[in-house]
């Protein structure tokens, strides 16, 4: 990546902001742990923004309870059966689907350098390979395969998007295998840039406690989308109720809901049934995936996010005045603010989104001086 691209400049802005926050947390944190944790939170947000910004290939993972139809949904997105499915705990290792001219599978193993490469003649063959290496019923010992990369010429991946199918959490695994799927999922999550949370309904409006807990503990930072599969069972009014139920019970109001029927979508694509395809809700989900993957709009969205955070942080800084000598605080912050301003200017000049707000906001913070 050349140093003069808008992406590089925005990354620099993020770096400067993170540094500013770090300094703040370091200097004032020991005396005011709540300020340190606030700074930590903002740093975390910037961390996700930067990861998404710099990701050459954005990895979107479909994550959900066991048996929520993640694999069925992916097959519907690809338009052919690639992800093996089984009515019972199935995927035992994460599978990354990437775009490629031919069907190909590469498996990496835990604590091993050597990988397994396999060229596949057809979708069916790729599916068999995945089944053998990354599912509960395959031959590979559960837990041996760390991750499997599957390449296929699917339209939805053409933009460079990587879609990951993950083992379900809460799978019934008796004895020594208990929790293995969940472990595999949790250790894979750090590789992911964005999570689409998959929940299944068969007409009921309900979340299990396990789902709610998993969301709160693992997904709340990196997930903005909730995909409800089995949507063929829900009327429009019940879809609204479902969304309200989730928002109320999770205390989260910004989740985007996608009501999808993987089965209908798959059948519609196979039979060229446009009507059914629209009803399945699949096109809307595909549009959202495209939006997430699109590099140019991604930049705008992330710049927007960072701008908001700058404004928030400026406000926070000028409001909080616990402890530290104001002059000292100001001096340490000022240099970094100037840095941020400088980088922001470069970001605009290099073709990034021109936000007058950047300058105004930071400018007024600087002029305000220590209070």
């Amino acid at each position: 990546m050349s140093a003069s691209t808008p992406t590089a400049h925005l990354a620099k802005v993020i770096d400067c902001l993170q540094l500013l926050l770090h300094q703040h947390a370091r200097v004032r944190g020991p005396a005011h742990p709540e300020l340190a944790s606030a700074a930590q939170e903002a740093i975390q947000q910037l961390h996700w923004a930067k990861r998404r910004l710099l990701a050459e290939q954005l990895v979107v993972a479909f994550v959900g309870l066991t048996n929520t139809g993640k694999s069925t949904l992916l097959n519907a997105l690809f338009g052919e059966t690639i992800a093996p499915k089984w009515n019972g705990p199935c995927s035992s290792a994460p599978v990354e689907f990437r775009h490629g001219p031919v069907y190909r599978a590469t498996a990496s193993y835990r604590n091993r350098v050597k990988r397994m490469h396999q060229q596949c003649g057809s979708a069916a063959e790729l599916c068999e390979t995945i089944k053998a290496n990354a599912t509960e019923n395959g031959n590979a010992a559960v837990g041996m395969v760390d991750r499997l990369v599957a390449e296929l010429p699917a339209q939805v991946l053409a933009s460079g998007l990587v879609i990951a199918d993950t083992p379900g959490f809460g799978a019934a695994q008796p004895g020594a295998d208990a929790g293995k799927h969940q472990q595999s999922l949790v250790s894979y999550l750090p590789r992911v840039h964005q999570v689409f949370w998959v929940v299944r309904t068969s007409g009921e409006i309900s979340l299990s406690r396990e789902e709610a807990d998993f969301y709160r503990q693992r997904l709340s930072d990196c997930c903005d989308d909730l995909v409800v599969t089995g949507a063929e069972h829900l009327e429009a009014e019940h879809r609204d109720q479902f969304a309200r139920f989730c928002r109320d019970n999770l205390g989260v109001h910004f989740l985007r809901f996608h009501f999808v029927s993987g089965k209908q979508g798959y059948a519609a694509k196979r039979n060229g049934d446009t009507d059914l395809l629209n009803r399945s809700g699949l096109p809307a989900l595909e549009a959202r995936l495209t939006e997430v993957a699109d590099t140019s709009t991604r930049l705008t969205r992330l710049a927007d996010e960072v701008l908001n955070l700058t404004a928030d942080f400026g406000a926070w800084l000028s409001q909080s005045d616990a402890g530290l000598a104001r002059e000292q605080r100001w001096n340490c912050a000022k240099v970094e603010w100037l840095n941020v301003l400088h980088c922001a200017g470069k970001f605009e000049a290099s073709g990034g989104v021109p936000f007058l707000g950047w300058r105004d906001n930071i400018g007024s913070t600087l002029q305000g001086g220590p209070r």
């Binding site: 705990p89 008796p174 299990s208 709610a212």
Partner: protein, 642 residues
């Protein structure tokens, strides 16, 4: 078949009556009353068939279909988790519905009002304090002495449902376990199956519901069955058949193709063949346990008869002396324990008050420190954050209490005098700390009755645990109003270490087992639903509801308001429910130890006294021998039945 079963029942009743008569002749009124209650329960012969499963598996639909109802008036159905209490359906000539409340009140309501008491929607978090609902009607599907039980689903967002369900499980004589076609057994259902196994449920009918879903194909059902079989095998629950049903179809009256006829037929065949056997096993177990206590005291008296008046007098004097010594000794121990316990509770209370201020200021600061533009992110993060703050602020307080309570409890258990069988010569000894004093020599040598009694008591203890734990969870659930467990649930584990002593804290339900000489271990799940674990465990779960279509400024205010409200509620509950419960628990533990010792000593004293009286009046031991022999015969008979 019917006739032999009937005569067997009469035989068992006569057997229990025999034991009751001996108890009356001995003047042991408590045992006689307890046996009378068992006899009454058994002779009414009600068999409990419970429908259980994870949330939204169609349990209430199933119950409606089973009862032959076409509406959901009696077992309301909703798209959201619905059933929030235990509902019992009983056959009767007239229609009625009796709501039992936790405070002992009873209210008769109309069928149309049932939903006001049994659903989460109308009775949020069981704010009406319903214990269970008993619905009587002319149900065509229900045999006269069968009680069908609808239970709340496991694993929903409402944790108090789980506590209720688990508390009820030991009372179920048989269970219908429901999963659905495209959702075979998951981890939480596996756990529920383990609980069924632990509750010694005699029979499980495993059924896959919603098999009529047009979106589920044959292959998927077959795959699900394969997985379910594997899981059932792993838990060790024997299931000969996996039923494929559609409760919805059956409820609509389409019995054909709903799979109901087959299940129905098997259930009633099972009931005809096994109902009495299972009821008998439970009955025999409970009565045998009561008989064991009687056998114990008779054995002492019988052995004493062989001793001379002088020997008896000196033993009596020795006992009195021991008793005085023990009283002085134990009073000291009790005081120390109570002091430690009260201190711990007080520190807990102070700690909780301090924590409240800490939590409040941290959250207020957090909200104030967030800029207007960050409010959305804050709203998303706040529940988790609040959770974390609550947990970190309360962690020290609760673990401090846990440590002190555990230490005090352990010390009391080790040092408190305990009457036991000891040594090869079968003496009765008192162990108090490291010191062992012989109370009575050679008591069980040759008697045999007592040994048999002890053996039986141990064998029957699993039943007793079932009764006790059921009560424990029901009471715990009565207080549990906040959902979901946090890391603090670990605190509940220490309850497990307290053993049987804690069980009696839960009140009346354990009265029948309070006098048994066997200390029982508390199953781990009671620890979780137990009186300490639940409050702190529930504290963490705070979903903050608010209208999200408002301006960011308004949202910020609302966040502040609702989080303060939540904090206040949590701490109010901690202080008004948890602290008094903890305080009371300390003295209940002491009472339990006292009454156990007192009871054991009195039994011995009574036996000696009786022996002395007989010597003085020159009455032979014929009567007592007769009683002991009779009881011995009955106890052995009971053991053979088991």
């Amino acid at each position: 078949m019917q006739l032999t079963q009937h005569s067997r029942k009469l035989q068992l009743l006569a057997w229990a009556e025999g034991i009751k008569t001996i108890a009356e002749r001995r003047g042991d009124q408590a045992a006689a009353r307890a046996i009378a209650a068992e006899i009454q329960d058994f002779s009414s012969g009600r068999f409990m068939l419970a429908v259980v499963g994870k949330v939204k598996r169609g349990k209430s639909t199933f119950c409606n279909a089973f009862l032959g109802r076409r509406d959901d008036l009696l077992a309301p159905i909703n798209k959201q988790p619905a059933t929030s209490v235990i509902s019992k359906f009983v056959h009767g000539e007239s229609e009625s519905c009796l709501v039992h409340f936790r405070d002992g009140r009873c209210e008769t309501v109309d069928h149309r009002q049932i939903k006001d008491f049994v659903t989460e929607e109308a009775n949020k978090e069981n704010c009406k304090g319903v214990d269970c609902v008993e619905i009587v009607g002319r149900f065509e599907g229900l045999e006269k002495d069968l009680t069908l039980v609808d239970t709340p689903g496991a694993g929903s967002l409402h944790q108090h449902h789980d506590a209720l369900l688990l508390g009820f499980l030991p009372q179920a004589d048989a269970v219908i376990f429901l999963v659905t076609a495209h959702q075979p057994i998951a981890a939480d259902e596996l756990e529920l199956l383990h609980q069924l196994k632990a509750a010694d449920t005699k029979k499980v009918f495993f059924a896959i519901n919603k098999t009529d879903d047009p979106h589920t194909d044959e292959d998927e059902i077959a795959e699900g069955i394969e997985h379910n079989r594997k899981m059932l095998g792993a838990v060790g629950i024997a299931v000969d058949k996996i039923y494929r049903i559609s409760a919805l179809k059956a409820m609509r009256g389409e019995a054909e193709g709903s799979g109901f006829n087959e299940l129905f037929g098997d259930v009633s065949r099972f009931l005809t063949e096994n109902k009495l056997r299972i009821l008998q096993a439970n009955f025999t177990g409970r009565v045998s346990q009561l008989a064991a206590g009687l056998a114990n005291s008779l054995a002492v008296e019988l052995e004493s008869g062989a001793k001379s008046t002088d020997e008896l007098n000196s033993e009596m004097a020795g006992l009195k002396h021991q008793r005085d010594k023990l009283t002085a000794n134990r009073a000291g121990l009790e005081r120390t324990f109570e002091r430690q316990w009260t201190g711990a509770v007080e520190r807990f209370e102070t700690g909780v008050s301090d924590a409240e201020d800490g939590v409040k200021s941290k959250i207020t600061r957090k909200i104030a420190d967030t800029g207007v533009l960050g409010v959305n992110a804050l709203a998303r993060e706040l529940p988790t954050h609040l959770n974390r703050v609550l947990e970190s602020e309360l962690a020290d307080v609760s673990s401090g209490f846990e440590r002190t309570a555990r230490e005090a409890m352990e010390k009391l258990r080790l040092e408190y005098p305990q009457v036991t069988l000891g040594g090869v010569r079968g003496e009765i000894v008192v162990r108090s700390g490291n010191e062992t004093t012989t109370l009575l020599k050679g008591t069980i040598a040759g008697a045999g009755t007592m040994a048999a009694g002890y053996g039986l008591a141990a064998a029957a203890s699993s039943t007793a645990v079932s009764i006790a734990t059921a009560n424990a969870a029901a009471i715990a659930a009565a207080h549990t109003t906040v959902a979901a467990a946090g890391p603090l649930a670990a605190l509940g584990n220490f309850i497990g270490g307290l053993g049987g002593a804690v069980l009696s804290w839960f009140g009346t339900g354990t009265a029948t087992v309070a006098t048994t000489p066997v200390l029982m271990a508390t199953p781990a799940w009671v620890a979780i639903a137990g009186p300490i674990g639940w409050t702190l465990a529930g504290v963490g779960a705070l979903a903050i509801p608010f209208a999200y279509r408002t301006s960011k400024l308004k949202l910020k205010e609302q966040l502040e308001e609702s989080s303060q409200e939540h904090i206040k509620t949590v701490f109010r509950r901690l202080k008004s429910e948890q602290v008094p419960a903890l305080a009371k628990m300390g003295s209940r533990i002491v009472e339990e130890f006292q009454s156990r010792l007192e009871n054991d000593l009195s039994q011995i004293e009574r036996a000696l006294q009786a022996a002395l009286t007989r010597k003085r009046t020159n009455t032979g031991t014929v009567e007592i021998e007769g009683m002991a022999a009779e009881l011995n015969r009955l106890v052995l008979q009971g053991a053979a039945w088991k």
